[in-house]
Structure formats: C-alpha cells, structure tokens
C-alpha cells in the first residue's frame, strides 16, 4: 500500500526545491527519516545545509511512523528574533 504525505519547505530549502510544498508517495509504515531521505535524494543540494525537520508541527528525530496525510517540514536552522 502506498500513502501520501505533504512536505513543506521554508526559506533556504524552499529556494533549493523551487517550491514550498510537495506531495510525496511512500510505502506504508515508512518513518519520517525515510521520507526525509527520499527528498534529499531528489534535491541533493539540500545536503549542503544543516537541516532540521518537523512532523505535524513538532520537531522530529525521524523515528516516528508516518501515516497518510502527515505533514513533514524540512528547513535550515532557524534565524528569527
């Protein structure tokens, strides 16, 4: 079974990917880190940056299982304030 998740990009990562939002298809029971690595493969320039990611608006280390419709965000170290 295949599921779809949403991937969000901001700032530097949005510039690299050329988009702020992608839909990613993954096998069921994929982890966040699997989705992350799939994106990296497609956009290898992302690897030049120190990246963080969040699943459903929470920082993630990548171990959680994703489910249909989840939101993965990939971004560089924050610089607000």
């Amino acid at each position: 079974m295949i599921m779809q998740i949403k991937v969000l990009f901001f700032g530097a990562t949005a510039d690299i990917v050329g988009s702020r939002e992608l839909v990613l298809s993954l096998p069921e029971n994929s982890k966040a880190i699997d989705a992350f690595q799939k994106v990296i493969k497609e956009f290898p320039s992302l690897e030049k940056h120190k990246l963080l990611f969040a699943v459903n608006e929470e920082y993630s280390k990548g171990e959680e299982l994703l489910k249909e419709g989840d939101e993965l965000a990939i971004f560089t170290a924050v610089s607000g304030g």
Binding site: A54, A77, V78, S79, G80, G81
Partner: protein, 145 residues
Amino acid sequence: MEKTFGKNYIALTTSPIDLGKIARRITPENCGAIVTLDGFVRRFTNGRETLYLVYEAYESMAIKEIERLVRQAHEKFFIEAVSIVHRLGKLEIGETSVVISVAAPHRKAAFEACEWLIKELKRTVPIWKKEVYEDGEVWIEGDRQ
C-alpha cells in the same frame, strides 16, 4: 495569526509592531514592572550593509513553539504575563522584528524570563531571516549574534 492564553498574548504579523502597545497589554495588578526586548533590523552586520530583511515562518508551528516557550517560562520563572509578537514579511532598517514583554511582581524575574525567552525563540521557533544586500541576498541559518 494570534493567540491569547491566560494573561499571555502571542502573535505573528506582517504589520509594523507598536512596541508600547504590546508591552502595555500586560499590566497585572500585582506587578510593578514590565521588561521588554525590542529586536530591530540593524543596518550593519559585520561591516556589511543590509538593505532590508525578509522574515518567513512556518506559521502554525511557530505559534505552537512560542506558546510552548511561554508556558515553560511560567514554570521556570515567577512571572505573571508574557506578550510576544514577531513580524513577518519585508522589514526596513530600524523596524522592529520581535517584541517580548514580561510582567512580573519582581523585576529580577522579568529580566531573567525575557532574556531566556529571546534566547530560546532564536533557537527553536521556525522563523527565518533573509538579509538582502546591494549585491545579493542570503537566508541566515541559526542565530548569528
């Protein structure tokens, strides 16, 4: 995007921030001091001139993270109310990017909480700053202070 919880107020906005209005949202009756951090756009960073800044946020997550920080601050410090507003979009030199106001019965706690909040905000809240120069632009990664 804004949220009120307890005596606290947090917001993300593309409009100019009125520092005094934010700070004075919170004047609890048992408090005598508000400490406010006003972060603004500096013209020169390491000798290079910035023309303007652009701030972008993962808005829904940023509001959650700011709320989490405010709740943590209430656990760590003896404070009464916090007001945090972060500006997004294009900012001119000198314009306020963030205001953090903390009201407390005793000023020491207000100073400590305000300093802690700006440090944590810069570390964890998903907002990014792009510096635009005459000859290019760059997304800043991490707190460069």
